[in-house]
């Protein structure tokens, strides 16, 4: 047991020291490759996709990888229609969708959906009941949940969002979302909006949390990589990549890469939880 830990540590040191050469190892398959991969859909995935794409395009100049957002619904739909090679989804596609399009699913990370506020806001904990009432518009002032006497500015996502779906199912128990909520188009947009609005509340992929926003404890559990990993934080979900039929060629290599040591390291670096 101890020897295994030591071995892992040693491996980690080795990786850090010779990171470039070691990483090139996982990227070897892409050398001399040509072609294009179109990726669209889930916006929580974007940081990982971007980093992976940059590394791949860095070693093989003839590979072109484009990354678009749109939301999980768009990812599933566009992959199913054959408009993109890889459709990302932050929720598990329904069995109907899998059957209809012949989708293959690859879950390469675990993520949570966290409630966030502006760092200037002193409210750091909310119960599920409070969250539901805030989003339904029944609680509309921060002072009702222990904050300053200011109106609560709601932010939500559009219907195509997997993050919204997970949040709506698990945190709001499919409850109402008030009509006056502002809309953000992606996880990134949500984070940017909350970081600028001192009286905002929103929800975002746990992987996207940084110092520009403050995570709020949900029913007493602070969302973080650890609490999600340990299963303590309730609002968790997998991050999926979908292809129409079994992936082949460059697309297969890309998805395989996500599951390599280097790929999973990217997942960790970007704030998500590995599946291995």
């Amino acid at each position: 047991m101890r020897s295994r830990i030591l071995m892992l540590l040693g491996a980690a040191v080795f990786f850090m020291t010779f990171s470039t050469s070691a990483m090139a190892g996982d990227l070897d398959g892409f050398k001399g490759e040509k072609g294009e991969i179109k990726i669209a859909g889930g916006t929580a995935h974007i940081p990982v996709m971007k980093e992976a794409a940059q590394r791949i395009m860095g070693v093989s100049p003839d590979v072109q990888i484009s990354i678009a957002g749109g939301g999980s619904g768009v990812g599933i739909k566009q992959a199913g229609e054959g408009l993109v090679d890889i459709g990302n989804s932050g929720k598990k596609p329904s069995e109907d969708e899998v059957a209809r399009y012949g989708l293959h699913l690859f879950q390469w990370a675990i993520d949570g959906v966290a409630i966030i506020v502006n760092p200037a806001n002193k409210v750091r904990a909310l119960s599920q009941q409070q969250v539901m009432e805030i989003y339904a518009g029944k609680i509309s002032n921060w002072k009702e949940v222990g904050g300053v006497d200011k109106q609560i500015n709601l932010y939500t996502r559009d219907e195509a969002s997997g993050t919204r779906e997970v949040f709506w199912n698990q945190a709001l128990k499919k409850g109402e979302i008030a009509a006056n909520a502002n809309f953000s188009v992606s996880n990134g947009a949500m984070k940017a909006a909350i970081s600028q609005d001192p009286f905002a509340i929103g929800y975002v992929s746990v992987g996207h949390i940084d110092e520009s926003v403050a995570a709020v404890a949900f029913d007493g559990v602070v969302p973080s990589r650890e609490t999600v990993k340990e299963g303590k934080y309730a609002i968790a979900r997998g991050l999926y990549s979908c292809t129409k039929g079994a992936p082949a060629g460059l697309t297969k290599k890309f998805i395989d890469y996500l599951f390599t040591a280097e790929g999973q390291q990217i997942v960790v670096d970007q704030g998500f939880i590995t599946v291995k």
């Binding site: 619904g73 739909k77 566009q78 009509a179 006056n180 909520a181 502002n182 809309f183 600028q196 609005d197």
Partner: protein, 289 residues
């Protein structure tokens, strides 16, 4: 030989004009075709008047129509006096060099990209509105209208100036010779003669405000609700298209954006016809002079 060649080239020119004109109609046809299930059986009116709640199977665009009208009309409320004031300053009050410089500045302003206004709006105007009016997130009807007003004003100013300049100078000499001031001349001669031009300018600016996507998308907050106050978050028809277009294209949700497209198309048609009417009136005023 040459004659046939001439005919052929003329046909080619006609074909180009025809294709361009055909595209205009084709766009309309395409949108009706794609939104078809929503237009059959009188459902179009229902869509215009019902609410947007995809989870409950309701795909009405009423909130977006109200949002569009609120934002663009409020923008006109800001832009009209501002533009009128600036046009008076350029055409009547200031003289010579100052007038020329001002006009140049306004002309240059028409070249500023919309997205730049939106960008500055997010980081400068939104915090300002939030702090000054203590109104929610700052992303609201008011912010979008203010920025839209800035966007449409330069065009409106140039049009106003143009209509003022079209009023024959000889009219003015009569007033000035009687000892009237230039402002009197403007109020009693120029303005009454220039009104068709003013209507054209306002209509065009309104069309621009309604048709603009980015300002509202970036600054209005995009909440799906018919706004009650200028501090409410709202969504325009154009933003709605931009936000929902990527949805499952078999769904009614997706079809509904074609209802937005058709509404915008019809609205544009009405404005263009209005402009033509006003321009005809303008032609008549010009002829009298």
């Amino acid at each position: 030989m040459t004659a046939t060649c001439e005919r052929a080239v003329e046909r080619l020119f006609f074909a180009a004009a025809f294709v361009s004109a055909f595209v205009t109609l084709f766009i309309f046809g395409f949108m009706v075709y794609y939104g078809l299930p929503l237009f059959s059986g009188g459902r179009f009116l229902a869509i215009l008047t019902s609410h947007w709640a995809p989870h409950q199977g309701s795909f009405g665009i009423y909130p977006m129509i109200v949002g569009t009208l609120a934002i663009s009309l409020l923008a006109m409320v800001f832009a009209f006096p501002l533009s009128m004031g600036c046009a008076i300053l350029i055409s009547v009050v200031s003289r010579g060099r100052l007038s020329r410089i001002l006009r140049k500045v306004v002309e240059v302003m028409t070249g500023i990209p919309t997205v730049v206004y939106g960008f500055v709006g997010i980081f400068l105007l939104i915090p300002l509105v939030r702090n000054v009016f203590d109104a929610g997130s700052g992303m609201c009807v008011l912010s979008a209208s203010l920025m839209l007003a800035v966007l449409v004003s330069p065009t409106m100013i140039l049009f106003f100036c143009d209509s003022f300049d079209r009023v024959p100078r000889s009219y003015g000499h009569a007033v000035l010779a009687l000892g009237g001031t230039r402002i009197q001349h403007f109020l009693h001669v120029t303005l009454p003669c220039a009104w068709p031009g003013i209507i054209v300018a306002v209509t065009m600016a309104l069309g621009r405000a309604v048709g603009d996507t980015l300002i509202a998308l970036m600054l209005a907050g995009n909440a799906v609700q018919a706004p009650d106050s200028v501090f409410d978050s709202a969504r325009t028809l154009t933003s709605h298209i931009a936000l929902v277009f990527a949805a499952d294209n078999e769904s009614l949700e997706f079809k509904a954006i074609f209802a937005c497209g058709v509404s915008l198309y019809l609205f544009t048609t009405i404005l263009v016809l209005m402009i033509r009417l006003a321009a005809r009136a303008r032609g008549k005023v010009g002829q009298v002079g």
